[in-house]
Subunit: 290 residues, 2 copies
């Protein structure tokens, strides 16, 4: 059985950077390290950090004196203010630089009098964070929602960095019917942009796709969706979920992993798949990114 | 036979305004009135003006001392400059105010460093005129052309005032893949925006559609296209083209007319259709605009 791996796979730039920042804080011996919200939508990575003594806190009230991390998704200025008001904490901002750009554009557009639209998932922390930078802004996740918007003179839009570019097309086309001026900052990050075409390409060449990543990770779920339109696809979080019968008669298996999937999980999955089949010959990487 | 008329029909604001300006100049006794390019894409209206002594000139070299009109479509600043250099002429600018807005946005976007895209017909005088206001701008008339664009940091787009909004959707969606920032000024005029839905609505209620207007008028051709997707449709320039056999067995006939179709032509067509059928009962107007 041949295994093809779609690249890029696993942690995107922003997630890797945020986890590296936490690891650094651990090494420096910082006390009582807390992360505001899950640092990455992956339960296994969270567990690994928790084992090292890092705490995930879900509300500002829970925060104790010590170090608190703002995760890669970012938070609204309101949340930042509240964190500062706690006074007793050292705040480390691990917001992804690409998310920062999204937030800044949202802010700038609101200041310039645009009705700001965050094209993103309604309850996604990144979209909610960006929304906080643009008073009166609206999160739009579907063409139907865009169609329901009332007409305004000027629409300014930013895009959640992890959305599939094709999913945004129809929303952008719809926005253009809603205002005389429509200004879109396409803030989808390069890594997301490349990950899906890479996964699709691998899916076309294999008999079965295994997509690895948190069930609560939006971008991983979309990878699985995209692949399932091409080939039979299983979305798993860990190697333990793999079933021998999936691989019966399969000659080529493809692997793709979301932006929040840690490398060690992907490695475990690859090793487990190899064991599913005695005749495993080779593992080839489809490099789409260097 | 019942006749339904789609409103708005005939001259749009800009065309009516330009012809009124010429009529006023005639009344004032201005000498040697010339129009640079056909003032309206309608041979019958042109003939009517020519009979009154107005000359259509197609090149700057042809212009003689007297009065010269810039038509509703507008011209590039380069053409304006050349007209002024002729020195011997009185220039009257009958550019449609909505086209002026399009030109001004094109200019502003170019000044602000955007790659300017004129979404419009490649050889349409309005698109060519607007192009002249934005150095380096490109006219894009199809999704394929948009797809072929190279990626740039910032795209700024304006839209030919007479394009069908739906035809522009896919181009806008494609542009958004070509730049980090896409800014679209939706300069389609209100009259165009309403004319097509009104024609569609009438087409849905009748057995046959008659679309009246110049064969060289882009917006009239698009009205005919839109109607022909719904019901059998004939695009005619004058009542003389009507054929009795088209109306055999027809109970309801719809009429729509382009933005360059003079009222007298539409009236003649309505009268001629009434004569096609002895049992003509009434003419109802589907008002979509007041």
């Amino acid at each position: 059985m041949e295994i093809l791996i779609a690249e890029p796979k696993g942690f995107c730039f922003g997630v890797k950077r945020s986890i590296d920042m936490v690891e650094k804080a651990l090494k420096e011996g910082k006390k009582n390290i807390q992360i505001f919200g899950p640092i990455v939508h992956n339960p296994q990575q969270i567990k690994l950090l928790e084992e090292k003594g890092v705490k995930m806190v879900n509300s500002i009230d829970e925060i104790q004196p010590g170090t608190v991390f703002v995760r890669a998704h970012g938070v609204s200025p309101e949340v930042f203010r509240k964190l500062k008001e706690k006074g007793v904490v050292d705040i480390i901002d691990a917001t992804c630089p690409f998310v920062k750009v999204e937030q800044e554009y949202a802010k700038k557009l609101a200041e310039e009098g645009y009705q700001v639209i965050i094209i993103g998932e309604k309850n996604h922390p990144e979209a909610l964070g960006a929304q906080g930078y643009a008073p009166g802004s609206i999160i739009i996740g579907s063409v139907e929602e865009a169609r329901a918007l009332k007409e305004v003179p000027k629409i300014g839009a930013v895009v959640q960095t992890t959305l599939e570019p094709e999913a945004v097309d129809d929303i952008v086309a719809e926005l253009y019917h809603k205002a005389k001026e429509v200004r879109v900052f396409n803030t989808i990050c390069q890594s997301t942009k490349m990950r899906q075409p890479a996964a699709k390409k691998v899916a076309e060449q294999v008999d079965l796709m295994i997509v690895v990543g948190g069930k609560n990770s939006g971008n991983t779920r979309r990878l699985a969706e995209v692949c399932s339109r091409i080939k039979p696809t299983y979305h798993i979080e860990t190697a333990a979920e793999l079933k021998k019968e999936w691989f019966e008669g399969m000659k080529k298996v493809g692997i793709s992993a979301g932006a929040s999937t840690p490398e060690f999980i992907i490695d475990e999955v690859i090793e487990a798949i190899k064991k599913m089949d005695g005749s495993s010959k080779k593992t080839s990487k489809k490099k789409s990114e260097k």
